[in-house]
Amino acid sequence: MLRQMEGSQAVAEAVALCRPEVICAYPISPQTHIVEALSRLVTGGRLKPCEYVNVESEFAALSACIGASAAGARTYTATASQGLLYMTEALYNASGLGLPVVMTVANRAIGAPINIWNDHSDSMSQRDSGWIQLYAESNQEAVDLHVQAFALAEELSLPVMVCMDGFVLTHAFERVDLPSQEQVDAFLPPYEPRQVLDPDDPVSIGAMVGPEAFTEVRYLGHLRQLAALERIPHLAARFERGFGRACGGLVRGYRTEDADTIVLALGSVLGTLKDVADELRQDGMRIGVAGLTTFRPFPLHAVRKVLGRARRVVVLERAFSLGAGGIVAAEVRSALAGNGADVFTVVAGLGGRAVTKASLRLLLTGGPGEPLTFLDLNQDLVAGELRRAGRARRSGPPAENLLRDLAGGV
């Protein structure tokens, strides 16, 4: 059914259609509207049987999800930013135990400086946690990916993060086609756990494992991630047959077939990038866009295929590894190893800074550029702080200094 609605409401409706039995969450912007809506659906009796547990922290939220999932319940949580980091220990635990929890990450920057706006620093920081990571480009995709996420998680006994850009998607009102309960039920069978806490058939879950088998347990987790590379395209195809629209998959190309330059990115910025590509094509530039839906597991072959014969690959990242550079770009470079393409990392849109068409046009029509650049970086502001730090030992808190400089019109 087509509806005009907020992204968070749409995701809450989609999650409810998946019939989770336990939801535990802790509020953090920009995730709040999702869990508020779900608590209403549970309290109002529209989502049942389902327990909504208000916990005292994100650590407790995911921990309760671990218990619920191990007890055989379909389990959901949502968080962002500081909350995701506060869960970290439990994130590794959920994946290590092989528990298919589904979580929405309403992507937001990580402090300090504290910042509630959108980038991908939070989920990128958990890329090695053993969770599958899917990134939504639009609210429609966020809805559809959640339905696929439960199916994928339960089939593989692996937890799945559905990442959607905070505010940009979570708080945006867009037209969304919500699936019917019948469609979702036909797509998503009831949860059949591989391991369950059942007094009739006692097992020990989470026993200590020494060097004799730890590598093998880890390797099996890796194999399940690799299996996801096979399962995700199948699921996407089955989804398209059942719901009549394409969504998900590993990586999608837009006007990439004959492109010399391809910009690869994740999330909502893809919309802007496609517009820019269309405009530049009119100016005669052979440019395409690759949208990475699945970041973990990383689809090396699919990425290599979609980037095909491009000579210039620009990876537009909403996060980066301080002291090293692009996170996604490092993966792309290994995907393209030996193919001769130049890979550039452009860090853009940190902490909610708008990624504008004008800046992207400038970037893409300019010269080859440096291997690592920061879009719209205010060099004067940076230089001012570096001067200040060089002049005096006690130069003060940098964040406050910059704000003062800005107010003073540097």
């Binding site: 535990c24 547990v53 005292e56 218990g67």
Partner: protein, 325 residues
Amino acid sequence: MPVERTKFYQVGSFAVGNRLLPPEQRAVQASPDRGNSLTCGHRACRGCGEALGARWAVDAAISATAGRMVVVNATGCLEVFSTPYPESSWQVSWIHSLFGNAPAVATGVAAALRAKGRTEVRVVGQGGDGGTVDIGFACLSGMFERDDDVLYICYDNQAYMNTGVQRSGATPPAARTATTPLPGQAFGQGKNVPLIAMAHEIPYVATATVADLRDLEYKVRRAMEFRGARYLHVLVPCPLGWVTAACDTIRVARLATESGLFPVFEAERGEVTGVTKIRRRVPVDDYLRLQGRYAHLFGDPPKTDVIARIQAGADRNVRRFGLVD
């Protein structure tokens, strides 16, 4: 002339012999049908109070629930000595997730069972004092405050034993640990989690020790009669960390209560409903002297001022809980 009623107590232990009781009054452990939750083969130290306490407590819970239960275990000695294959020794549905999240995992298990309409299956969480009063404290308080249907058992050996005897929020004054070198743990620190649990006004809070295992069994059984959050704090001496003889575990635990240092009581919805009276009060010296972690108090000359401060703490417990008639 006062008449002394005949008591069938073993010498010194105050524990009544099973053979003298009618079968229905005998200990769960005396029954050939006991749960045997924690079987032999685990790798706890000789004389480990925690292994003893956990077996009695979980078996009592199995008996109270007819085996319809799930155990959630925090990281710590109990988890480490009981799970590495082939020493895995749990005969119940059992999960270990992390050090600091056992109460929250238990909450999740209980929520799942509720959603599935299987509330006849009960949930028991358990961990050491570190996992309970320190790193897991927020999760514990949250579980209490929401009144989740979980019995949480803390096996208190008064330090982080699994990592080599470091101080915890339950380490008592003057005790030496690897991170409270002499003169030992400071006075005026630490927290009393049974009282904090009572402040949450949860249905049931109790303390127990491995010196009175029938009382421990009773308290587990009693706890299982309630729905909602329940807390049981069990003193479990640790020969390694307390530097006591393995054969003295029960004796040390008994002296902890008989000196007044560890009050044994139960409370419902924040009010004390029962106190185990001290039968034969002993000075704290008797308790401290047996333990190497207090050896520095008994040098030449002994630290009488420190011992007096510890005694004052015991006296306060006696007054506060009415431990002596």
